[in-house]
């Protein structure tokens, strides 16, 4: 099983449909198959990180994010610009992403074999 660097570029706001949940499940599958998974939340996708989510009748993404640790997915990044534009802080998040500048994002992308979207 050769392991690849896979980056999930997460840009969708949650709860409109199942898209975000399905991508999250795919992330866990990739991690379970020992791929080197990184997550980059940007744009509206940063909303997926918020700790205070309380959906009715849907899975709670904030709680699910905490399970990433058990799958050893610890490369969690977010676009600093997207945070600033929305007045968000790492303290507002269910899990703490590392905020990246645009140059660091370019470097992160350069290291990948595969970049997937939600």
């Amino acid at each position: 099983m050769n392991s690849k660097n896979i980056l999930y570029l997460l840009q969708q706001a949650p709860y409109l449909d199942n898209r975000v949940f399905e991508t999250f499940d795919a992330v866990l599958v990739a991690a379970a198959f020992d791929q080197r998974v990184s997550l980059l939340f940007r744009g509206d996708g940063v909303l997926q990180l918020l700790a205070d989510q309380k959906p009715e009748g849907q899975r709670n993404l904030a709680k699910m994010l905490t399970s990433l640790e058990t799958y050893e997915v610890d490369q969690i990044f977010a676009d600093a610009r997207s945070f600033e534009a929305r007045g968000l802080k790492v303290a507002d998040c269910a899990i703490a992403p590392e905020l990246l500048s645009k140059r660091e994002i370019a470097q992160l992308i350069a290291r990948q074999d595969l970049v997937l979207n939600d």
């Binding site: 570029l9 509206d44 610009r81 370019a106 992308i109």
Partner: protein, 86 residues
Amino acid sequence: MAIHLVQRAQAYLPCSRARADGDVVVLLGEGVAAALIDANDCYASDTDVVARGLVGVLPTSIKRINDAQLVALCVEHTPVVTWTKA
């Protein structure tokens, strides 16, 4: 060197921010409209440019490519990154 595929005009700016030196950017589908606003030094899909009647107004810094050339670029560059969101 990565290749960035821009499929919506509003996705061009985030793509340009994440573009490293030597990365290639290709405007596809609706993304070709970005050529008229802020895109430069990119490729654009010939069929999409022609379909939208942009041949006469395309800036010179945008080079039109056909599907075979697009495939060749995708083979030569890793990773392939698709941009669809602002």
